[in-house]
């Protein structure tokens, strides 16, 4: 048993952790398949596990081992992975204004946590807990992603092809769930809808990674649309509107 990071222990009251743990389970499902595929692509189990700890960005790691498995040069694989990760520049800015400016070391660790799940979960709830949601989810993702990679890398032979278990669909399904709060607002629907269309249209023509970044255009177009909630069947009043874009008060520290 490892000792839990401080942010995790501090959140044992449950509410934040209750949201982070299901995310960790989904990340773990994907991590197992990464471990299996990385070893199949020629990484040693140790290097596969280390890559998850050092990179901590699932999509780019899949792109990396995908290029290796197809016989491409390792540095080409790294380049296509990096292209996918350019979106984290935007995610980093999105979360940055909520982060305390305190210590450089703390911000350096916060930077390590800037991946899809912690940022999405942090920004899709009330303002007062943004930093805590971000850090707790970040720590959860690290533990889940790295340990699941090890399981897949060292035990993959027992599992067989991860696609048999549908593990390749775990990531898009999880991202869809993370996207849900935005889909209950008109502006979020526009951003997401255009992001999907642009990404699909570009996929045959642009190198992997570019379609996703180009999908960010959706956010620019959505600026013209109101942040009003769109009623859904069991939420007639739109009472759960999670984000009030543009009107969030500044939050200096958690």
């Amino acid at each position: 048993m490892w000792s839990l990071p401080r942010t995790l222990r501090a959140s044992m009251d449950g509410s934040v952790l209750a949201k982070a743990i299901p995310v960790g389970i989904a990340v773990a499902a994907y991590g197992v398949s990464y471990g299996v595929l990385a070893v199949a692509a020629g990484l040693s189990p140790l290097l596969a596990t280390l890559s998850s700890l050092l990179v901590l960005a699932g999509g780019s790691q899949f792109a990396f081992v995908g290029v290796l498995a197809a016989g491409g040069a390792p540095l080409m694989g790294a380049a296509s992975g990096l292209l996918l990760n350019l979106r984290f520049l935007a995610f980093g800015v999105a979360i940055a204004r909520h982060l305390p400016t305190a210590s450089l070391l703390r911000r350096a660790l916060d930077g390590y946590y800037v991946v899809d799940e912690p940022v999405a979960l942090a920004l899709s709830g009330p303002d007062r807990d943004v930093v805590r949601r971000f850090r707790v989810t970040g720590a959860t993702v690290v533990v889940a992603w790295v340990s699941a990679t090890a399981v897949g890398a060292y035990g993959g032979a027992l599992l067989g092809d991860p696609r048999t278990w549908g593990l390749d669909a775990a990531f898009p399904a999880g991202f869809l769930a993370l996207l849900a709060p935005w889909l209950r607002r008109r502006s979020g629907q526009v951003a997401a809808g255009i992001g999907v269309v642009v990404a699909i249209l570009l996929t045959p023509f642009a190198p992997p990674g570019v379609p996703v970044i180009a999908g960010g255009i959706g956010a620019l177009v959505a600026l013209r649309f109101a942040d009003t909630s769109v009623s859904v069947p069991d939420d007639p009043g739109g009472s759960s509107l999670p984000i009030e874009g543009g009107r969030r008060p500044h939050e200096g520290s958690s």
Partner: protein
């Protein structure tokens, strides 16, 4: 060579991730930029869902993932908890493959 590539990927990724927290922490943005940073994750997450569901390398492919993610979408619509969404998504994909498609 693979080790070097992993290091390049790790260092470059960290640079992308940490640029915001290191250089823009606590900084107040204009209202338009605030809305943009609020909406960007939606557009990028949606684009990721699309490519991870439909793309295999540079080709668009309809396979069992489409079934799984569609079932997951219904679960999201019904406000199922996160873990349930992921489980039914993976489960429906696995079941579709078991039945011989994709």
């Amino acid at each position: 060579m693979i080790v070097l590539a992993v290091i390049v990927l790790a260092v470059g990724t960290y640079a992308c991730k940490a640029a915001g927290p290191l250089f823009a922490a606590g900084r107040e943005l204009s209202p338009t930029m605030q809305r943009l940073t609020d909406l960007l994750p939606a557009a990028l997450l949606a684009a990721l869902v699309a490519t991870q569901t439909l793309a295999t390398g540079s080709s668009l492919v309809l396979d069992a993932r489409v079934v799984g993610v569609s079932v997951a979408a219904v679960a999201v619509w019904l406000r199922a908890p996160f873990a349930v969404v992921v489980l039914v998504g993976a489960g429906a994909t696995a079941l579709t493959r078991l039945l011989g498609w994709g």
